[in-house]
Symmetry: C2
Subunit: 401 residues, 2 copies
């Protein structure tokens, strides 16, 4: 490494983008070559996608051109798909542009849906929490409403919407959809009573990990908008026209949205890292065990919360905090300093419920309704601030008032 070391960042999600932004501040122009690889030429906010997916926000508000945010004078950008990490050879294979070498690697490839072995998920459900996937969900939902009045006989499954999973994503999505249903009914001349919405959850509670009082608030609110919950009810199969539950019940539906959680990117498995469901239990300094120059952050990293003895959930909040630590540790490696240990600092969690409704915990405080909604928007704006300062916040931010 006589010349400038090559830092390679894989993925332009929360972890990759914040790493890229921070590293250019930590290191001078002559200290390293930094390259960012991403499938798209835009970054998008996964945590906002329930809104365009339900059609309550335009998808362009959830994304930004990468070269509008990162300084392309300081960072090389390659638009390509990562195929495999050759750990021992310090190389990464890309789908279209061959191999790229690295001295230091930051793996921030994000997650893919977890099916838990349920058949039919990839064939018959909407499960892509991406810009393309959200756009498809939205247009599919509208198309089902449009089809309904063109059928010779009423076909109720067209207006039956099933969300698999009452975790964060499932609840935030049904929050938006249930908020939009009255508007869709008006647009398509359909009585609201024809629309059925189900949220089906295998676990014994919706929003596991949330305070029960908040869970109750959310469920009551959603039930009042017409959502029916089936808790403690595993799905055994997704079919072309609905789902079959473990208890044998069949719900006919033309729209099954899969939101039961995620697993790490398959590239992790393919590249031979020791992993649990695509996630690597990283060292305290966020390096992959046995690799001095490979960091893994975000949804592909696994860290145990010592208080609960369970893994931290894969959240944007943690990915961004990890990115800051990684940027500092990259600098430390190059300067031959001591590496930092990563300590997550969970500031709070807020789930939006559509319209002006939300629930959340910030510090020890429980929040409901408009105050939770306010916090949610502030959290969303804070991220934009970290990433692109006041300019990006004004351009893409949410008005909390």
């Amino acid at each position: 490494m006589a010349t400038k070391p090559n830092i390679l960042i894989l993925g332009a999600g929360y972890g990759g983008m914040v790493t890229a932004t921070k590293i250019t501040k930590e290191l001078g122009h002559n200290e390293a070559n930094v390259t960012l690889v991403s499938k798209h030429d835009y970054h998008y906010q996964t945590t906002w996608l329930h809104e365009p997916a339900a059609g309550t926000m335009h998808h362009d508000r959830t994304r930004m051109k990468i070269d509008d945010v990162i300084d392309i004078n300081k960072i090389n950008f390659i638009q390509d798909e990562v195929v495999e990490i050759h750990r021992e050879e310090n190389k990464v294979s890309l789908k279209n542009s061959g191999q790229v070498e690295f001295d230091y690697l930051v793996t921030a490839l994000g997650a893919v849906p977890e099916t838990f072995g349920v058949e039919g998920v990839f064939d018959y459900s909407f499960n892509k929490w991406t810009v393309n996937g959200a756009r498809e969900m939205k247009d599919h939902i509208e198309y089902m409403f449009a089809k309904y009045n063109n059928e010779p006989e009423p076909k109720d499954e067209l207006l039956t919407f099933v969300v698999a999973g009452a975790g964060f994503t499932g609840i935030e999505f049904i929050g938006e959809l249930s908020e939009r249903v009255p508007e869709l009914c008006k647009e398509y001349d359909i009585p609201k009573s024809k629309v059925k919405m189900y949220v089906i959850e295998a676990a014994p509670t919706a929003l596991p990990g949330f305070d029960p009082e908040l869970v109750e608030y959310a469920m009551n609110l959603l039930e009042n908008r017409g959502v029916e919950f089936k808790i403690n009810t595993p799905i055994s199969e997704v079919k072309e026209n609905g789902v079959i539950l473990k208890d044998g019940e069949e719900i006919k539906s033309s729209t099954v949205v899969w939101a039961t959680g995620v697993r790490g990117n398959p590239v992790i498995e393919k590249s031979g890292f020791e992993n649990m469901r695509g996630r690597v239990k990283v060292d305290p300094d966020l390096r992959a065990p046995g690799h001095e120059n490979i960091f893994i952050i975000g949804d592909c990293s696994l860290m145990i919360n010592e208080e609960t003895e369970r893994p931290f959930p894969p959240t944007a909040q943690i990915a961004m905090q990890q990115a800051e630590t990684v940027a500092a540790n990259l600098k430390a490696l190059i300067k031959e300093d001591k590496l930092k240990e990563f300590k997550p600092d969970i500031k709070g969690t807020v789930a939006s419920l559509g319209g002006k409704e939300a629930i959340g915990v910030v510090g020890n405080k429980k929040l409901f309704g408009t105050s939770a909604n306010f916090m949610k928007k502030m959290i969303d704006n804070r991220y934009l601030w970290i990433l692109g300062g006041v300019g990006l916040t004004l351009k893409k931010g949410k008005n909390p008032f």
Copy 2:
């Protein structure tokens, strides 16, 4: 008929609506009971539907609540579907509300698509030129764009659009769609070169009956927007994923729009009227042959143009003119006066081509581009004026400037 006679109008399209409006002006409140039957509680402008179908206009602009236009103090309105006309018993069966008696009947039931015996039209093509049908086409088209980027391998048929028929409807529809494609490409992150548009016509020319110079103008313009014409090319079958042409060629497409023309409403055939493709060759005073009290107008009526020795095409223009004659003839029957003969007065024909483009003939004058577009909008506004005066024209009219 010692008491007030019952006038029953079937259908709230151009013919039925104008009949209803005019009859209340021709006859005093005490001279007749007038009842209008329509499947929907709104009237819509069939001749505008190519716009919402392609997504260049909101469907609500093409429709109006019936009771916003007709005076419900003077006319009874029944929202129901006509099943059969019992010609000898002076009764009409409705789907939900039983039978209605009449002394005088005005049949203005409109048209249904003509398949010319091609298999698969009703199963696999979009063919309903109604508000519901247009809304479905629009949402389907958008959904195909949304799906494209979610396929693991490019699936070109998603972005291939086939219009069957280069008559008025087919040309006006592809005019709107081709105008909108650049916007759709932008919205869905798709290069414009991926989109294929075909117009397939069995006859030896597009827009049969139009001046060849106008036809050439229209075709050149549409070809410049990326439309490919296949003239003199009958379709032999519509399949789930495209069309098969008579010459054996197969075009794969997820969106086949059927616009090869129409036939009269099936109620005509079911009710035992002598007919040709659902159209009754009416007497010069617009009555059904052999029936003193049954008028048939609009798309279900057939009249021969003596100059060309061919039937007049089913147009809004003729339906409205027939409605005025029928209103006068109903008055004549009740007052025991002499009935008028109907004489069509073709003022001109303008076909829109999307954006500010159109072609047309008004009197002996050929019109192109913006002047034709201007005329088209004036024609559309004139209808609103006839139906609902200045108020409706201002509310629903098109700005020609």
